[in-house]
Subunit: 342 residues, 2 copies
């Protein structure tokens, strides 16, 4: 019997239709190979150590005690947006365009190893990646031409990833996308109406109900949202209200690394290294009204497809109830995790 659920933070309805249910095992049927099966180094990979001259203009490098890089960032060779800031004349009222789409597009190589992924890396290594995201975000926020910044990771082909080497991306935009603006506006409206943050309230209720929680620590809650639109998608929220990821404390970054490791390792084992997108949802530090927002990470395994219904309505149909996804992720035995071959 199906059920309609409403997500207060995104204001979207979702259809939970267990008649169409698939078991968790159905999602990874026949998956032939995982990240860890790849070689540890590929000479033809532009992100592997030794190919640094294929990615000029390095913007950040974190090294180990021996001076080998652990994480580095550099401009994307095939950028969606480039830093030229010249703007074309808008053409009439109706067709607005900006030539040169000024902005930035960087890649963060997350490890020197070709055959690892965040879910297999240690919390200490993941912490370096999160610190790189925070550092580059802080640096880029000083550019006056950027209106919004988004940090994201595409893992696997179905998630839109074209380079095997573990990496994430940072795009700086000269416009605030309307869907992001709406999220900020909605958060502000909720705040004014209820004298509180919608995400803080969501945290409180998810903690209380507990049925959808995957991992909880002192400062973070990872859960499958009550009305999440996609199977096994997980949100990680800091319990401390803050609108901007780039303003996270170093102790928070460290704690988040541990939570992220837990969540991604569980997904890796439960769904056999699924393709997924990870997105940092955050407001820029100085945005007007943006302090009503509450930053968080969302992890979206790419297990289902958008079809005509989703494109036409913005609503999603999911088969498994979020409670079942969370229970399945909680019971995963993390000791079964095997790292990459060296």
């Amino acid at each position: 019997m199906s059920e309609l659920r409403y997500n207060v933070a995104t204001r979207d309805w979702v259809v939970v239709a267990p008649e169409r249910a698939r078991r968790p095992e159905d999602f990874h049927a026949g998956r032939p190979i995982t990240t860890a099966d790849r070689p540890a180094h590929r000479a033809d990979c532009p992100f592997c150590p030794g190919s640094e001259d294929h990615t000029p203009g390095e913007t950040l490098r974190f090294c180990d005690a021996q001076g080998n890089w652990m994480v580095r960032s550099f401009p994307n060779r095939y950028p969606a947006l480039t830093p030229e800031s010249q703007e074309g004349r808008p053409k009439g009222n109706l067709f607005r365009r900006r030539r040169f789409g000024s902005g930035t597009h960087e890649v963060v190589a997350e490890s020197p190893l070709h055959n690892t992924t965040l879910g297999l890396q240690s919390p200490a290594e993941i912490e370096q990646v999160l610190r790189a995201w925070r550092q580059r975000s802080q640096d880029l926020f000083h550019r006056p031409e950027l209106e919004h910044l988004v940090v994201f990771k595409n893992h696997g082909l179905s998630a839109g990833c074209s380079q095997e080497h573990p990496h994430s991306q940072i795009i700086g935009l000269p416009v605030l996308p309307s869907s992001v603006r709406r999220r900020f506006d909605d958060a502000a409206r909720f705040y004014q109406k209820n004298q509180g943050c919608v995400f803080c309230e969501m945290l409180r209720v998810e903690q209380e109900e507990a049925a959808r929680v995957v991992v909880e620590t002192y400062g973070f809650l990872a859960f499958v949202p009550f009305a999440s639109d996609s199977p096994f998608s997980v949100w990680i929220l800091p319990k401390r209200h803050s609108h901007c990821f780039a303003l996270a404390e170093t102790t928070e970054i460290r704690e988040l690394a541990g939570v992220l490791k837990q969540v991604l390792a569980r997904l890796y084992l439960a769904l056999k290294d699924p393709d997924y997108n990870l997105i940092v949802h955050s407001a820029n530090p100085p945005g007007p009204g943006s302090h009503f927002f509450h930053w968080y990470l969302s992890i979206v395994p790419r297990l289902s497809r958008m079809a005509g219904f989703e494109l036409g309505t913005g609503m999603y149909i999911r088969s498994s109830p979020p409670e079942a996804d969370a229970a399945y992720l909680r019971q995963v035995n993390l000791e079964a995790l095997e790292g990459p071959k060296s």
Copy 2:
């Protein structure tokens, strides 16, 4: 050099980044088989003639002069929503849910032939399909529990289609999805500000610029929108302002069938029977304020994937400029079209 474009009707920005360009030929590379290569009839197909008892509860049947059905509709066996209208008690303010997700979910079998598709069918056959969509929409609009209706078609695996037999779907919803409500609100706001419909204005400018037009008739314009978010996606708009597809005149339905045939046949040849979604964007007949909306069809070939950037911002990155897509579709030689094998 990339460019940012703004869609006034959807209020979304799109990035046109030709640095990442693919040629139209790249989109269909290696496509092994098309719809027309399938058998004309499959005994194990629940939608083929002879299997009518697998789809009980027929809601519509259009027949030819010999009494054989040409188009029929029936309830989906695996419905996303079912008609039970009982509603669960909402649980607190934050977590709204409706049990039994009352609604309807119907399938329209578009042809007795297993191996055809709208792009290969004749305008007269397509007209029957459009009339079926209109008829079922009119019937369902009388149900007081339905707040919104969406007619759509998923063609091919990447478009979320699980049955080969040519068919479309109609879902009736007990809620108005927020993204649809926003579209209505945006249209109303534009109307109040500019004393006119945003879609009528878009029609005027697209006609004038002509560079993105694919097909034009007396009453309809098919074009690749200035800021369309996905390669080769086409909008078909009636020139007469009307908010509701179900209220279209029979002469309009006939003309639309011809335009749709043109557009889908061009896509079929240009991209070798691409997977696509077709959506009828329409307001319900009596919706408050909904007459500011303007109904239209969108056809979205599934050639690119949503990745972290799109999920995080709602913005899309496309490589080919819409003008190039339209030019490529216009130069297709429709005489090359081969129908299904019998």
